[in-house]
């Protein structure tokens, strides 16, 4: 049996398991709550792995490894930012958000925002839908592009067929199994990514000749690869670069595809174990990816495209079976992100706009059917874009990641932690944050040492939310709800009142 046949066999086995998960979960996908949040029944370990696998796309395995290759130790600023973002999200955001969304019986982030701000005109729902839909389209196309590239570089399968094959599998299990299939496939995919990023850096460092040999090899290649501020040194450009790298993690505090994991948990008590699992998982993900890149720099110097270092290492250093496993891991990272994005965008259109604004009486089964139709439509649109000329994968990923974060993080944080936030403030924050992120890329980024657009995006979003909120009146009863939620969950580092994770003193 040739090496390629072994790799292909492993990939086919993996895809078959995903089909099986779709079939297993299909019963849950017949109701709106089941299709979009798995009936709010997911345990801690599923939401923990699902949130990390969703947050970390092909960018982790191809982009961050390439960054470790290109800039060495300086890439650990990304690790610091992401770990901090994940930890803060679970410790401070998850419990109040879950408590609010359970009280409101929310299925989507827009449901939460509408009820939090008593938005009778449903403006925030419409604005959210437009932002989610546009950013998800960009993000999904970039992920399908990555799938095509992965098939091409690992197996020599034509790029076009790689894109189409990846899309068929994701669309099947997402539409048939809904969010339950998405979450459990994310769990499988997250575990595979965890194991790969635990093993591959060790394989790489051993192949180099050990830690000391890797450090000496990097020093010989370029001494700045071992410096925290990289080749910039302690200059304005160096600080901007470090801050931009770390800022990637801010999105974990409030992008809707991750907040949906909190909604889908079976209760607030899941957050403590899930947070611990998620932080350990992201530590292994990110540290492993950077170390793969650093060891790859010594093993394969002079690569024209640093983002090919991970496929190259896995095809050169391990037997064919494990090369297949590593291809599966890259596909897993892609699929675990795409499935979540598709179901998020579907909910933004069908649940948030069609059902809640135009057709409130539509039967559940018809809503979920339309949800599946929109999921397929979005997937096909993503494939068509990916088959065009979108080949700069990670520029698009980081742009969409920033657009979603700039629109939602300021508003979600203010909604959860500042009682004075108003509807007008939330809408202004969402629109201004998103516009600042896009505007920064188009007008200012090149002039400010490539400062990552999420920083001005979130900064402007928070300022707009605060200023406009101070000029307008908060919704009636917002104080009472705010106090009830925060009294129920208690402080982050002390047990909740009465030993309950929430809801013990509602109203």
């Amino acid at each position: 049996m040739t090496g390629s046949a072994v790799v292909l066999g492993v990939v086919i086995g993996y895809l078959a398991v995903l089909f099986g998960i779709g079939l297993w979960a299909r019963k849950e996908s017949r109701t709106v709550s089941g299709y979009y949040v798995a009936g709010k029944k997911l345990p801690s370990w599923v939401i923990a792995f699902s949130s990390n696998a969703t947050g970390e796309s092909a960018w982790l395995l191809l982009g961050l490894t390439g960054m470790g290759y290109a800039v060495g130790v300086h890439a650990f600023w990304v690790v610091l930012g992401e770990v901090l973002g994940v930890a803060l999200a679970w410790v401070f955001v998850a419990r109040p958000f879950k408590e609010y969304t359970d009280r409101y019986d929310s299925i989507t982030v827009s449901d939460f925002l509408e009820d939090r701000f008593h938005d009778g005109a449903r403006i925030i729902r419409r604005v959210s839908a437009v932002i989610i839909f546009s950013m998800v389209a960009v993000y999904t196309a970039a992920q399908f592009t990555a799938a095509g590239k992965a098939f091409d570089s690992f197996l020599g399968i034509d790029y076009t067929w790689g894109v189409i094959l990846g899309a068929i599998v994701v669309l099947y299990y997402t539409t048939v199994g809904g969010f339950k299939a998405v979450a459990y496939s994310d769990l499988l995919q997250g575990v595979l990514m965890f194991l790969a990023l635990l093993v591959l850096p060790v394989v790489g460092i051993v192949a180099v000749g050990g830690w000391g040999a890797m450090v000496e090899g990097l020093r010989a290649a370029d001494p700045s690869l071992l410096l925290p501020m990289g080749s910039f040194g302690l200059t304005t450009a160096g600080v901007v670069s470090a801050v931009s790298f770390a800022a990637v993690g801010l999105a974990f505090l409030g992008v809707p595809q991750l907040l949906t994991r909190f909604i889908s948990a079976r209760g607030t008590r899941e957050m403590a174990p899930a947070g611990l699992i998620a932080v350990i998982c992201i530590l292994v993900f990110d540290t492993g990816a950077v170390l793969v890149g650093m060891s790859g720099r010594v093993l394969f110097p002079g690569l024209a495209d640093p983002e090919t270092v991970m496929p190259l290492m896995s095809s050169s250093l391990v037997p064919a079976f494990f090369t297949g496993i590593f291809l599966v891991v890259v596909l897993a990272a892609i699929m675990s992100t795409v499935d979540s994005l598709l179901i998020l965008a579907s909910s933004a259109v069908v649940r948030d706009v069609v059902q809640k604004i135009h057709r409130p009486q539509m039967p559940e089964l018809r809503v979920t059917t339309w949800g599946k139709v929109v999921t397929v439509f979005l997937g096909v649109a993503g494939v068509l874009v990916a088959l065009g000329e979108v080949r700069v994968v990670f520029w698009f990923v980081l742009f969409a990641w920033s657009g979603l974060a700039s629109a939602f993080v300021p508003v979600v944080l203010c909604a959860l932690f500042w009682r004075r936030t108003t509807l007008a403030g939330a809408i202004a924050g969402m629109v201004c944050g998103f516009a600042a992120s896009v505007g920064w890329v188009l007008l200012f980024k090149a002039r400010f040492h490539e400062l990552y657009e999420m920083i001005p995006g979130i900064g402007v979003g928070i300022m707009a939310t605060v200023v406009v909120s101070l000029l307008t009146r908060p919704p009636a009863d917002a104080d009472r709800e705010f106090d009830a939620v925060h009294r129920a969950i208690g402080p982050a580092f002390r047990p909740a009142p009465g030993g309950r994770g929430g809801g013990g003193s509602a109203g």
């Binding site: 709550s33 709010k40 029944k41 130790v73 650990f76 600023w77 610091l80 770990v83 901090l84 930890a87 679970w90 410790v91 419990r95 879950k98 408590e99 009280r103 409101y104 019986d105 929310s106 299925i107 449901d111 009820d115 008593h118 830690w211 000391g212 450090v215 000496e216 071992l226 410096l227 925290p228 079976r266 209760g267 607030t268 008590r269 403590a272 174990p273 947070g275 611990l276 998620a278 932080v279 350990i280 992201i282 990110d286 540290t287 009863d477 009472r480 709800e481 129920a488 969950i489 580092f493 002390r494 047990p495 909740a496 030993g499 309950r500 994770g501 929430g502 809801g503 013990g504 509602a506």
Partner: protein
């Protein structure tokens, strides 16, 4: 130490210290709690929003 400067080592271990430093005390504080308002029963939550049982 290990061929790296103290600054480089600090950057490498900082994510571990920061991440576990936040999440371990959080886990210890809440690991024995019962589930809260929703408890996996959508529609049964104690709504304060005036639109229960969405």
């Amino acid at each position: 130490m290990g061929g790296l400067t103290a600054g480089a080592w600090l950057l490498i271990v900082a994510p571990i210290l920061v991440g576990l430093g936040l999440v371990v005390p959080f886990y210890r504080a809440h690991r024995h709690e019962a589930n809260g308002a929703g408890g996996g029963q959508p529609g049964a939550a104690a709504s304060t929003a005036g639109e229960p049982g969405r």
